[in-house]
């Protein structure tokens, strides 16, 4: 049994790779617009998902 021990780290490593890729897809916003993504494969163009840019700074008092 101990002879096949090398399979254990391989199995865990593969699991970790899957977990890491899931986390990456979640963080890079690939689940934000599932409907849109389903439609976009029909169109040309190759933009990926877009992440929101944070840091809103609203301007004040605009003269006309």
């Amino acid at each position: 049994m101990i002879d096949f021990f090398f399979l254990v780290p391989i199995a865990i490593g593969m699991g970790l790779a899957g977990l890491a890729s899931f986390m990456w897809t979640l963080k890079s916003g690939q689940y934000d617009d599932l409907e849109g993504a389903a439609q976009r494969i029909l169109f040309d163009g190759n933009e990926g998902p877009v992440l929101e840019e944070k840091r809103p700074t609203p301007p004040t008092g605009i003269k006309t």
Binding site: D33, Q39, R40, L42, V50, E52, P58, P59, I62
Partner: protein, 751 residues
Amino acid sequence: MSCCAPGAELCLVEATSSNEELLLASRTLRDGLRQTDLSVPDMHCGACLQKIEATLGGLDGVAFARANLSARRVSVQWTGDNPPPLIAALQQIGYQVHLDEATADRNDPQLTRLLLALAVAGFASSNIMLLSASVWSGAEAETRDLFHWISAAIALPTLAYAGRLFFGPAWRSLRHGRTNMDVPISIGVLLAFGMSLYETTQHGPHAYFDASVSLLFFLLIGRTLDHVMRARARQAVEGLARLSARGALVQRPDGTQIYLPVDEIEPGMTILLAAGERVPVDCRVAKGHSAIDRSLVSGESVPQSAAEGSLLQAGTLNLTAPLTIVATAAAKDSFLAEMMRMMAAAEAGRSAYRRITDRAARLYAPVVHVTAFLTCIGWMMATGDAHRAITIAIAVLIITCPCALGLAVPMVHVVAARRLFESGIMIKDGGALERLADVDTVVLDKTGTLTAGRPRLTIAGETSAGARALAAAIAAHSRHPYSEALAAPGGTRPAITLDDVIEVPGAGLEARSGENSYRLGRPDWATGAPPAAHPDAAVVLSRNGDCLAAFRLDDQLRSGTREAIVALTASGLTVEILSGDNATRVGDIAARLGVSFIANARPADKVARIAALRQAGRKVLMVGDGLNDTPALIAADASMAPASAADIGRTAADLVFVREDLQAVPRAIAVARRAARLVRQNFGLAIAYNVVAIPVAISGQVTPLLAAVAMSLSSLVVIANALRFGDSPWARPHAARPAGRTAPLTPGLAP
């Protein structure tokens, strides 16, 4: 494509956003790049998406446009001092657009956290289970120890990462001297891990790493489902902010004009309000004559005229002509701000409701902990073996960890939500199902809830087709909602030549054709007769003062209203109508339906009425659609709104029904009651499991294998019971209408 041609006619009465407003609402990104978020509710398919992106992308100054089909939103990044004509461009291709609140947290960070924790726990529990399986099947001591160490190495970071979602709340509630479901979970998981670690260092045969991690996994599933069901009700208040204008064009005493954000407007300032703009603060009209949509205040979409001296509330919509107004209150003292305060207060009152899970936890946790403690003492006294006594006590905690309880409620709610969805009812919060099941009083709004959409103009008495066509031809010259309703119906109409059509604000339209002078408008103005001559007419067409045709406002009941009321009364609920409309019209409908009513209720009156009912011990379901109902929707125990409701009404309500049929109300209550029954059954099952498992655990017979099997089994039983919701006893709706929006809301002329 049919879905891509939304009615452009509605855009006319929508508030428009000026360039300055767009600029105020945009966010600075970097290097003069600004981002504006627009909400496009009519974006339905890939073609819409492409068209919108292409249109916006083609505008000068637009650096980047990205549409989100799921959220029906577009983010546009642009450069320059003046925003590109984004809204006009989209309206031109037939989409209604409004500015989206620039709230940063639109993707739910808590859900992301839960999903990440769930993924980690899933990974860890599956790997530890694989290792455990070989231990259970009798691995040699050396291999077993090795596998235990690997399990510990996986379990420790998992507990630290996924477990903190439970440990944090548990610690907080313990510090406040309370206990909730998180406390027994945390104690069970941590003790199981600690004991297993100790056993591993002592080369013991039994380790519960699998139990502690798979517990986390199951509980996180329940927690995630629960979160997905949870409302984003807090957005209702933010949504109301969208109705307030962001700024207004202020005329200074020296004649110059400046666009000021609404917060900087002070009482006494003179404001120029264009047609189609929302009133920024409470104010008085100084000059001009226009029609005002006061649906925010009264719920009635019938516009009212405003002349010099009229007082206007913030948030109402100026429809036909520009006005010069003088502010009478600052934004924070205006009507809209008051509504927001009312809603926030109502919401604070509702959060006092304790979910059934929390109530169960209050009983459950002490019982379990006392049992474990007594077990420990008992074994101590019986054998004197401290290690054994503690091991068994911990086994009791592991086996009683509320795994099934954690799934019992959210599982039923998810299945119930699916059932409701099939009947065209959306639910936003699992807690709403619990509250809805307890309801014993139903309060209904009239306009838009009992009656379908906007009132329609129908012809009173006999009228020739010629007169109707003439009315349509004259009405085509005005943007007043009545005129649009009259001009709307298509069909071939004879070409009528009119000379010199003028609009008399507050009265109607006057047209000349050859010798004749036609008037279309207020009855007393059109015919010169006193108002009593045409009691129920709203609009009259006259030729040289003789009445040609009279049109009246007609309230059409939603389909299924009568049946719904009968079903509600039959199931023991008290029904009443609470409307902002006048007593005659409400009384008429109440008499037709045979229920009691309260008329002329302002938003605050509605909240007061609901509060009074609740004070009397009633559980109230509020069904309403207007902005004026929104505080009442939040104040009630549970609330429903039709999909045709104002945005904020929809956000505030717990349930939204998309079909026209009012029978959604009794159906939702039936589903909620059945869900409550299933939740109780699930609790019963979970308790029965504990009744069987605890004696086994106390007697010291629990091995890790038994714990894993028992816990998974109890969870599966609870899930299976929840899925029984499928073969439900109520009849399915016969007419399988597509679950889409209700019939178009365009005011139409009935034939």
